[in-house]
Assembly symmetry: C2
Homo-oligomer: 195 residues x 2
DNA sequence: TTTGAAAAATTAACATTGTTCAGTATATTT
DNA sequence: AAATATACTGAACAATGTTAATTTTTCAAA
């Protein structure tokens, strides 16, 4: 990386960090080109020298957040008993993270991010995200003979769909009303799907 | 209903119908106060004489659409064999309807519709919608001894969450890529959850 | 060190969005 | 017919994303 690339990278990061701060802080509704630029310490027009448009900028945030979420999940689950208990714990940690940062959930699943080919990659990251978090442990279960390979795929699909559905209803439609009921509901679903 | 109320009702319907046409036709992204008013044949400002704001107007559409969807599902399932096959068919018809009108799916689950108490009712309608469609047939299954009551609740939760999740990923994140794969995926999930 | 051209940053502007308000036209009542 | 109430509308506002023109900064060559 030459001098110019380093500087450009740095500038990009100023905007990316500002965006991430707003999303985790005030939430996605507070996000605007102007609010980002202000937090980054530049004019809103400067942003367009480094990103094609605001969707492009947000794409970088998706990558960063998925990495952060992955780290959170790993840190919360590394000492968990392997196999089914660990899969459950991974999913629960993932849910915790999303509830903690509703803006990230919006970004991942709710916000419309693409019509053209560029952003398909953002969709790809997001769609396979839960599966990826569980991948290693699922392989472990298959190796242990807990699941057959075909069965594992079906279980994972069911977990993925259910969790995204239940999160959407909780975050976007306030159902269930309380966080406690929500957690109970998540646990029950997981028990039903896996056991 | 006196003269005045009849007229007010009629005016409301002009705007509601215009909104519904745009949502089912051009989709939710084409929806604006001005596009609605133009289609209704009035100024955009007139809209505010009949609706508190655009969210209020949209609430009426949610009610109408859920009624239309209900009728669609009934018409597609009335001759189906009762019990589990009928439940599956109801859910599949519901999914068909949503895929046909992505704007309605957006409206039901994706669009942010409320912070205050008024719109909680819109959320309520939407959250319990799939459950309600299956309610009668689920009771039939319980009466037949196919499910225990507690089990039925868990199954319904799993269906609801999974279907909303799978629809969200298909509509918002183009996963699976093809409609065929999507249908296969829906069928597999249903089989897994119910059988 | 000065100069001049390339790069970067900013201001101004545009087209949309939802919403409000002051005014005008229409309908109703006296 | 005049007075009053109702219905409707266009202008205006604030906020949105984006683009173009313009100013400021950078930095190598003279």
């Amino acid at each position: 990386m030459n001098r110019k690339e380093i500087q450009e990278e740095r500038m990009k990061n100023y905007f990316i960090d500002a965006t991430k701060e707003i999303i985790t802080g005030e939430g996605i509704k507070a996000l605007s080109v102007r609010s980002i630029a202000e937090k980054a310490g530049y004019s809103f027009a400067t942003l367009y020298n480094y990103f094609k448009d605001v969707k492009d900028l947000i794409f970088y945030c998706v990558q960063d957040f998925s990495q952060e979420c992955r780290e959170y999940v790993v840190s919360r689950t590394e000492n968990e008993e392997r196999g089914i208990p660990k899969i459950k714990k991974i999913v629960k940690s993932y849910v915790e993270y999303m509830v903690q940062y509703p803006g990230i959930f919006d970004l991942f699943y709710v916000e419309k991010i693409a019509t053209d080919g560029t952003s398909l990659s953002a969709s790809d990251i997001v769609v396979k995200f839960i599966d990826e978090l569980c991948e290693e442990e699922l392989q472990y279960c298959i190796a242990q003979g807990t699941f057959r390979p075909g069965e594992a795929i079906e279980i994972m699909s069911n977990i993925r769909n259910s969790i995204i559905g239940i999160l959407l209803l909780y975050m976007n439609r306030q159902h269930p009303k309380s966080y406690y009921d929500f957690v109970v509901s998540v646990n029950r679903q997981l028990d039903r799907i896996i056991d």
